[in-house]
């Protein structure tokens, strides 16, 4: 019987939507799906995890060391429960990227990153070269570690399940690891970038961080998340967690509005799966227009206020 272990991603308060997509990918591999949850407070997460219909069992490691994520701590727990499983899945978030290759290394498994399609139990599709090509890869390993690009999978059913929660003691180990000092997390009332229905993104054309705020009115009217190109983040117009692209986040909303973004291949890699793409740029030769469903060649400083007033 094929058994799959999914790493639950959360902020100790609520479960990340990414876990629902990873669980959906797991369902394509088999129907014995368990979760592993390392947390400082399982009672905050228990009700939400219990809604996942396809999950059979949840391995819980609860301790204050999980208040902040240290890859070494999570991996030690993954190893402790790994024996029964054929597949180990997490999302390709910065969290999954930090944790899973470490685990794969210790298990002597070659990981397959950023899976966008499960062809069969040993064959997967993944983007390479910033999404310029799609590779179909086949694993000859009996056990596999996959990270899942969540925008390529639907969310699993949350109509209610009957998962059994199994508490474990922390594994004893002598792993060398860093210590947590502090974090500066972006606080926003807007939808989360990778799961928003609508994303409004700004690029170098926004010119400065004050102008970047012009996107906020439109984002508020559309209940959209705000994103940015690498150029905008590098220039300090927007924080790093706004970055969409090969080295930032992958998004696939119903509507992606690219404002003052030229459309470098590295940016397209992170957004070209969006259902509808709008580009607003004064340079009509900008490559972004090649992927846009609707292109508006205009000065964004005139177009944005007008767009905001007409929405």
């Amino acid at each position: 019987m094929t058994k799959i272990l999914v790493l639950a991603e959360h902020d100790n308060n609520s479960l990340s939507g990414a876990t629902l997509s990873v669980t959906k990918a797991a369902e394509m591999l088999g129907d014995e799906i368990d979760l592993i949850c390392t947390t400082s407070n399982i009672s905050n997460l228990e009700a939400e995890i219990s809604t996942l219909t396809s999950v059979k069992k949840v391995h819980v490691f609860e301790d204050k060391i999980f208040e902040n994520e240290i890859a070494e701590n999570t991996v030690d727990c993954l190893i402790a429960v790994s024996d029964d499983y054929d597949y180990f899945l997490a999302s390709s978030s910065t969290s999954g990227k930090n944790i899973m290759p470490r685990f794969a290394g210790l298990m002597d498994i070659q990981q397959i990153s950023e899976v966008i399609e499960v062809v069969d139990g040993s064959t997967f599709k993944k983007p390479i070269y910033a999404g310029a090509c799609i590779a179909t890869v086949k694993t000859e390993q009996s056990r596999n570690v996959l990270t899942i690009r969540t925008t390529s999978f639907d969310k699993t059913s949350t109509d209610g399940g009957s998962a059994e929660f199994v508490k474990h003691d922390l594994p004893a180990n002598n792993t060398n690891k860093p210590t947590f000092v502090k974090n500066e997390l972006t606080v926003s009332d807007r939808p989360e970038l990778t799961s928003a229905d609508i994303v409004v993104s700004g690029g170098r054309g926004m010119q400065n961080s004050d102008n970047f705020k012009l996107l906020e009115g439109i984002a508020t009217k559309l209940n959209a998340a705000i994103g940015a190109s690498r150029a905008a983040v590098d220039s300090g117009f927007a924080p790093n967690d706004y970055q969409v692209g090969q080295t930032g986040k992958s998004v696939a909303p119903n509507l992606y509005v690219a404002v003052g973004i030229s459309g470098a291949i590295q940016h397209l890699a992170g957004m070209k799966d969006s259902k509808t793409i709008v580009a607003i740029n004064k340079d009509e030769e900008a490559p972004i227009f090649k992927v846009a469903d609707y292109g508006l060649v205009a000065d964004l400083f005139e177009a944005l206020p007008e767009l905001e007033s007409k929405l």
Binding site: E72, V75, S93, T94, K97, N98, I99, P101, R102, A104, G105, L106, D108, I109, Q110, Q111, I112, S113, I128, Y129, G131, A132, C133, I134, A135, T136, V137, K138, T139, E140, Q141, T175, K177, P178, V181, K182, N183, E184, L185, T186, L222, V233, D234, D241, T247, L255, K275, T276, I277, V278, F289, K290, A292, D293, Y294, G295, L296, A303, K310, L311
Partner: protein, 249 residues
Amino acid sequence: MKILIPIKRVNDYNVKVRPNQANTDVDLSNVKMAVNPFCEIALEEAIRLKEGGNATEIIAVSVGDEKNQEQLRTALALGADRAILVKTDKALQPLDVSKVLVKVYEKESPNLVIMGKVGIDGDHNQTGQMFSALTNLPQITFASKVELNGNDVEVTREIDGGLETLSSSLPAVITTDLRLNEPRYASLPNIMKAKRKPLEELTVEELGVEVKPTVTTLKVESPPEREEGVKVENVDVLVEKLKNEAKVI
């Protein structure tokens, strides 16, 4: 203090890579090759640590065929003191590369290993984490700021929610994100000088690493093309199309 910098040879990041005719792999013939941008950032950080008096020796290491000499010479021109090429004609996967790097680490005993978070070719984002696991060195990925204080390093990381700062004793492994620094260009005199810097050659077999092709590529294709859309004349038309045609607002 010794710093080890793994260097990967990849396509120039400006080149759009395409599948070959048979769709069995990418077509890299006639493609300009370069040092992986994230490895360049790792090297730049090491050079700055050395310039600041915090490091004494920078060793660049590459795993691959003879052509990797080019990228190691670039690293030497930029500021690495010496280079090691671990030769193989096989296509190595991240797990294999990390095992080779473990052997080089054991041989050289550096105090710090800084490497790119991802190769822009395979987009794996694995080698640093695997190397850290196999050496049991503290792992700090996606660095945007590195501060060395004696035998400790404090690193700011870019994570999905914002920024996070971790601290670790040395030796440790750091992988670099884009905003850690802006790499310099090599000057002509330094390019000339690099030709005389030591470049040691070893083989994967000599280091006793068994390469296992456990994941093979069956097919490489172009992604489905998006159909080019229409240009709209003004904001009114745009709003109308989004409401009534695309029905997304």
